[in-house]
């Protein structure tokens, strides 16, 4: 069965520091991977997906099939990046997403 692991619950950094939010997945086939973000008092929303290979709000994530990882990175954190971040995996021909437990990113001024 597929599984998503986000090993840390909280990451606290100062503004301008680099950020790496870890995500590892368990799936033997070709996965579709996503990062979702939830800002305070807002709904869960898509941040980026691996097939797009784009940078959103300065964040990037590269799929590493050898290490089964999809870590989210940003070189210089901003206070407005403070939020809950979820890594999610889609393995089937439908919209079923398997989510990790999430990580709270806190960026201090």
């Amino acid at each position: 069965a597929q599984r998503v692991t986000q090993p840390e619950k909280l990451l606290s950094v100062f503004k301008g520091a680099p950020v790496e939010l870890k995500c590892n997945y368990s799936y033997s086939g070709s996965p579709e991977l996503f990062w979702y973000v939830q800002y305070s008092r807002q709904r869960l929303q898509l941040l980026l997906r691996h097939i797009s290979r784009e940078s959103i709000k300065g964040f990037t994530a590269d799929l590493n099939k050898g290490e089964t990882s999809f870590h989210l990175k940003k070189p210089f954190a901003q206070e407005e990046d403070s939020a809950m971040y979820y890594c999610a995996l889609n393995t089937g021909a439908n919209s079923k997403l398997t989510f990790g437990k999430g990580i709270t990113l806190s960026v201090r001024p």
């Binding site: 579709e32 709904r43 979820y86 393995t91 089937g92 021909a93 439908n94 079923k96």
Partner: protein
């Protein structure tokens, strides 16, 4: 565009009761999925419906059921409520069930069981 809308926003029930949660997808979206999110966890998949047919079911008991209407809105029903059913129930929509399409989430219904 109002996005995905869910009702009610909050609900309090007692054990053994039944509850119905409602979801309206984004206009043009034909696929609706339901997720349960308990405190401290990520959302967990319950159901997916597309064109009024069930296309996927997660590891939930038969007390959980859902349906989709001709206008693509959806209802989630839970019977014989247990304390453990207390959670945030999220609805998500996408144009089709294709796995590479992002899902758009609603604000959720907060269900509390006393």
């Amino acid at each position: 565009d109002a996005g995905v809308t869910q009702s009610p926003t909050h609900l309090i029930k007692t054990r053994g009761q039944q509850v119905t949660l409602r979801c309206s997808p984004i206009s043009g979206h034909k696929s609706v999925s339901w997720y349960q999110q308990v405190l401290g966890q990520g959302p967990q998949f319950i159901f997916q419906y597309y064109e009024k047919e069930e296309r996927g079911r997660g590891n939930f008991p038969d007390r959980f059921s859902a349906r989709q209407f001709p206008n693509y809105s959806s209802e989630l029903n839970v019977n014989a409520l247990l304390l453990g059913d207390s959670a945030l129930y999220l609805c998500a929509s996408s144009p089709t069930p294709n796995s590479n399409q992002p899902q758009h989430f609603g604000d959720g219904t907060r269900l509390s069981i006393l």
